[in-house]
């Protein structure tokens, strides 16, 4: 056991060392290629270590010496948990802590990031594995059982994906509200873990414990399909500033005409399997310096004979309004359809109702970093660096921050002397969770942009090009969620084919 624990710890330390070495733009391809394999070996090794530790005093069977010894079951269970916490989780915690400190973050923030990640991992990964280990006698059984559970769950998920066309049945997972679903799945897993551990350590009832595991696996998959409304209702209760979006309205704006790409080119994102229909919308009442994000929208088509059909989309509309704009913002909501669905209804005259679930994010902070060889440390962005990409057509910005980061930001290149700006880019995949920490692969969050300033094909011209890039800066704006609210628009009569993007 000690050798195995040491080997796994070495893998964990190696991973931390590679992450430290790579830092922002670590350019060693060999190291970079090692990252994923080592991460996998580390996770697999930790899993094997946990299961092996449990199997030292296996529960199933009746030949184990410990069964005849005056060992308190609670003591045995606690000793296993302690082993997992110290020997399996400990080295990862240490690696995370050292990584944070090596990047120059304070001891408090490094400790908080390492503690948060590892606490979540302990609850959501280590303990369930420990419980799973109690169901098996040896590693062969554990591997076969683990594969059986994974294959069954994957089959059910694949079946649901097929049934619901893509991953729409798990729509909450691709939004900032994923934390609600994740919290429920973690609760399901933890509850099942507690039941299994109680069955095994206090009753030695392996069959009921195995049935519990099977049922929990199904419940886990089912909990991924949390319906949108209750999840959003929960999120609304956590709105920071529920009044801020009260005046926001939106309406269909047919006067904008059908969408035409500013480049004059045909849209290249059209493919055979899907169709995009950009509907023109007008937004009013938006405060200054905000991002309005449609986390979810349900598009309902009602035919003349009253038949209704719903299509759900997520994260496909993001409106930005900075202080310079007037009160109105016009933009297109590009609704993606499966081609088969589109072809069925494209020429029908239908009524459309769209129910939006919005989040309004307001500007939290703004930072300027030199575009070339810039380096800056800030409280909410962390440690950021800039550099050219290898083709020298874009500037790359990468920030490392301990723990959970505010990950809705926009960035643009700005030439302060002339006041010129390149188009603003957005990287907004927010996590609206109200609690400390999150389940993540690394204690240090990596966040960045690639901001183009030169088009090698010569088709696009940027206000800030290669000649001014040396005197320019990257302006990064961070946004924080303030309000979650719903709006509905109704379009009395429309034919989809009239609104497909033109050229």
């Amino acid at each position: 056991m000690w050798r195995m624990a040491l080997a796994v710890a070495l893998v964990d330390f190696a991973l931390a060392a590679i992450l430290i070495k790579l830092a922002h733009f670590g350019s060693s391809p060999a190291l970079r290629s090692l990252l994923d394999p080592i991460r996998f070996v580390g996770i697999f090794g930790t899993a094997v270590l946990i299961v092996a530790a449990v199997q030292q005093d296996a529960i199933p069977g009746m030949r184990q010496d410990w069964l005849a010894r005056p060992i308190k079951r609670t003591d045995l269970l606690l000793s296993k948990m302690l082993f997992v916490a110290i020997m399996a989780r400990g080295p990862i915690f240490l690696g995370d802590l050292v990584e944070g400190l090596a990047f120059g973050f304070s001891i408090e923030s490094s400790l908080a990031a390492a503690t948060s990640r590892n606490l979540w991992m302990f609850l959501a990964f280590d303990l369930p594995l420990l419980a799973f280990g109690t169901l098996t006698r040896n590693l062969t059984e554990a591997v076969v059982g683990g594969l059986a559970i994974m294959l069954s769950a994957s089959s059910v998920i694949a079946m649901l994906n097929e049934l619901y066309r893509g991953a729409r049945w798990q729509e909450t997972l691709r939004t900032g509200m994923a934390w609600v679903t994740q919290s429920i799945t973690i609760l399901v897993v933890l509850l099942a873990t507690m039941i299994v551990l109680a069955f095994q350590y206090y009753r030695r009832k392996t069959m009921p414990a195995r049935w519990t595991t099977g049922a929990a696996s199904l419940l886990f998959v089912a909990s991924l399909s949390m319906p949108w409304r209750p999840v959003f209702a929960v999120q609304q209760r956590f709105s920071q500033n529920p009044a801020v979006a009260r005046s926001v309205t939106l309406a269909f704006e047919p006067g904008m005409g059908r969408f035409r790409d500013p480049s004059g080119l045909r849209r290249s994102d059209r493919n055979e399997s899907e169709m995009i229909v950009p509907l023109p919308l007008r937004f009013s009442g938006l405060p200054d310096n905000v991002v309005l994000k449609a986390d979810h929208s349900t598009v309902r088509f009602i035919s003349v004979d009253g038949r209704a059909e719903d299509f759900t989309t997520v994260n496909d509309l993001e409106i930005r309004k900075d202080g310079s704009a007037d009160g109105l913002v016009r933009d297109y909501h590009s609704i993606r359809f499966v081609a088969e669905d589109y072809n069925r209804i494209k020429d029908q005259r239908v009524r459309i109702e769209i129910d939006y679930s919005f989040t309004l994010l307001t500007l939290a902070s703004s930072h300027g970093i030199p575009a070339v060889h810039g380096e800056q440390r800030t409280g909410d962005l962390g440690w950021c660096k800039t550099r050219f990409n290898s083709a020298r057509t874009a500037v790359q910005l990468l920030c490392l921050a301990p723990g959970k980061m505010r990950n809705c930001a926009t960035a643009f290149l700005e030439h302060a002397a002339s006041g010129r700006r390149n188009p603003e880019l957005s990287n907004c995949s927010p996590d609206y969770s109200p609690y400390w920490g999150q389940l993540q692969m690394d204690a240090v969050t990596r966040f960045g942009f690639g901001l183009p300033f030169r088009d090698p094909a010569g088709l696009a011209r940027y206000p800030i090009d290669g000649s001014k890039i040396g005197e320019s800066q990257i302006v990064v704006r961070l946004y924080k969620p303030q309000d979650h609210f719903t709006r509905r628009i109704m379009i009395p009569e429309i034919r989809l084919s009239d609104w497909v993007a033109g050229n």
Binding site: Q56, M62, R63, D65, A68, R69, P70, K72
Partner: protein, 301 residues
């Protein structure tokens, strides 16, 4: 000390125990005897709460076996032929590990048992032979001076030398403890057991003090003046009745010196001579096992 009351255990469709009841008095060396698959190990696993009975209950040290806790286990030594000990640890390491669990662990006794059983401290348990592992199990079961020692087929697969060493180790430390020993080898318990229970196909055939058992069993040979014939209705106490020339031989299971002659004559008439011979344990069990098997065959027929 130990009591089994109408124990049933089913594994799928197979009934390993079928209403087994017996009780082992305090201070006894109680032998659970039966062929392989008779249900001895299942009974012991139920007593040790390693298995749950399908029906019935077992008591050990006055506690329902299902409620056996570390408090009782601190008084119970357990040695089994199929006992999985941590193979990666050495003999010494495992004894070091076990010591703190027993408040009455006697280190001098441990040293003495280890010396007597000649257990190498530095050897890994996984590298020990079967015989050495059994001795190791015994060395782990004696130093805390258990009041109850349970031995499940302890001699299985042991060569005579190891077996003798094992027995010496056991007998020297037995003292006042109650011993429950299961075996399918009668020779192993001869001279050790004070009480015996015979199990066949999950049922108890009999349970008795060893002295009573050997006292009431006799090999009887009845000599006639004429050729002997097997009686059509032999008394139920006679087992394995067979006729050979002028001699009728059987196993008497209710032997008393005083009334044997009268009982024989009332069953077979005039006889020339009656010879009786005490039976070794092995012969008693052979006769009983054969009788049980015949009865089962008749029931099936």
């Amino acid at each position: 000390m130990i009591r089994a009351d109408n124990l049933w255990k089913k594994f799928g469709r197979h009934e390993a125990l079928r209403g087994l009841s017996f009780s082992a008095p305090e201070g006894s060396a109680f032998a659970l005897i039966g062929a392989n698959g008779a249900g001895k190990t299942t009974t012991i696993k139920i007593l040790m709460n390693m298995l749950e009975p399908t029906r019935g209950r077992a008591e050990i040290l006055g506690v329902d076996s299902r409620r056996l806790s570390p408090r009782e286990l601190e008084w119970i030594g357990y040695v089994s032929e199929n006992q999985d000990m941590p193979t990666a640890l050495t003999v010494g390491q495992y004894l070091d590990y076990l010591r703190p669990f027993y408040s009455r662990w006697d280190r001098d006794l441990e040293a003495s048992v280890r010396r007597q059983l000649r257990l190498p401290s530095e050897r890994r348990i996984g590298d020990l032979s079967h015989g050495m592992r059994m001795k190791m199990a015994l060395a782990c079961a004696l130093p805390f001076r258990p009041t109850l020692l349970i031995l499940d087929e302890p001699f299985s697969g042991l060569d005579p030398l190891v077996r003798d060493e094992f027995m010496e180790g056991l007998l020297q430390q037995a003292g006042e403890m109650t011993v429950l020993i299961s075996s399918h080898e009668l020779g192993e318990i001869d001279g050790v057991a004070t009480h015996v229970a015979f199990i066949d196909e999950g049922q108890l055939l009999f349970e008795e003090a060893m002295s009573d058992l050997t006292g009431r069993f006799r090999e009887v040979q009845v000599t006639f003046d004429r050729p002997a014939a097997t009686p059509a209705q032999a008394p139920r106490d006679w087992l394995h009745v067979r006729a050979m020339g002028n001699v009728l031989a059987f196993v008497e299971t209710r032997f008393t010196e005083e009334d044997l002659g009268e009982r024989v004559r009332s069953a077979v008439g005039a006889v020339r001579r009656i010879d009786t011979q005490p039976m070794p344990l092995r012969s008693i069990f052979t006769a009983l096992a054969r009788s049980a098997r015949d009865a089962a065959e008749m029931r099936e027929a």
